[in-house]
Symmetry: C2
Subunit: 233 residues, 2 copies
């Protein structure tokens, strides 16, 4: 008798965290459905990389959803008039929620993932949010994820029918170094992941935005150079 794999929806941005999260979801035995979003982000190269990564990982299906968030403004990630903050070292990162915050982004993304999960008959969503080496976004915290899960379990016909939806956040309390270590164990190829908030057209990282600095430190703490960075550290 062939075992039927349970399905899971995985949010995939093409970055280091979500690519690791996808590998974990697959290692946990799920048939994976990857979902990405075109939301007016300036680093649209991440969608090409997400597509590449989904294909390499042999997911059951990869869907890219186009949203209008860009028109709403309010973030350096979607508004070309705002500059992405740059620093020389990771110690310079501020304590405040930065300009790269996109209003309610994870709520919008998780809501679409929830809709797709219900259509697919999946009870599991994986999202690579991280509350430790992160940029201070409120929608990456454990208390936010738990509240989303409670809401989701009241929102759908599937949940009312007794199927409990679980939002998995395997990376949420790990350091960037730990995430990288886990990914390498699972055979993740980080050379094609793009984490930078402001890459050039070829997807080369700026090496000075919050996301680049956190990523570089993660590789350094593993005694490695970032395979996606064009300069050695």
């Amino acid at each position: 008798m062939t075992e039927v794999k349970r399905k899971a929806v995985v949010l995939l941005s093409g970055g280091l965290d979500s690519t690791t999260c996808l590998a974990i979801c697959q290692a946990e035995g799920f048939e994976t459905y990857a979902i990405s979003f075109r939301y007016g982000q300036r680093h649209a190269v991440e969608l090409e990389r997400a597509t590449e990564i989904a294909q390499s990982a042999n997911v059951a299906r990869h869907t890219i959803i186009s949203l209008d968030l860009g028109g709403m403004g309010g973030s350096a990630l979607t508004d070309r008039k705002l500059a992405v903050p740059k620093h020389d070292t990771v110690e310079e990162l501020g304590q405040e929620i930065p300009l790269t915050y996109v209003p309610a982004r994870n709520t919008v993304f998780l809501s679409h993932a929830l809709a797709w999960a219900e259509v697919l008959g999946a009870n599991d969503i994986y999202v690579g949010v991280n509350a430790l080496d992160y940029s201070g976004y409120p929608d990456c915290r454990p208390e936010y994820i738990r509240a989303f899960e409670v809401m989701a379990n009241l929102a759908t016909k599937s949940a009312v029918g007794g199927n409990r939806l679980v939002v998995h956040t395997p990376l949420i309390l790990w350091s960037k170094a730990e995430i990288i270590r886990k990914g390498l164990e699972l055979g993740v190829d980080y050379s094609r992941t793009v984490s930078c908030y402001d890459p050039d057209e070829q997807g080369r990282p700026c090496l000075h935005c919050d996301s680049c600095l956190l990523r570089q430190r993660g590789f350094q703490q593993n005694g490695l150079a970032d395979p996606a960075a064009s300069v050695s550290l």
Copy 2:
């Protein structure tokens, strides 16, 4: 000194409930920002009507967000291969969640409303959900709305900064007859609202879907004919 009105985002479908909800929001003194969604619904005429209604109501801004929900399938409202269920009388409506249910629709819509509210600096969202004379959708129940509100207050930079977001659902426990009575008190013109799940191209209602039957009963209970119905009741 001129009083600055507080802003509110109102979900506006162009139907009877959301149009009444918009009127209530304005009567409560808010500067209103209306948001509608193009999500592959077969009754796309409702977007034309929503635009008309938003203009008549003189809202501060009306935005229509295009989403990919249609491609996901799973509902008679977005999938042309599934027929909208029809009945002769309101007593025939089933107890089960019907085929017109769209997976996680209100969660997706409210999430986009939350994002826009944050960009606008609005702490109030109005949505015309109704848990009484409704089609049995899980995401119209008070417990769902409260859970969304809890989640939303953990999700955003605005909430973390101390601004409490409130999701207003003034219609949630009213009968359709009560909603109509309130709307008429506030001067709502129901002749241009479209509630039907399966209208013709001119927006004329089928008069036999769940939504038509509930609406007709609401007008009847007020001793009125539905001004939008092409046949008298």
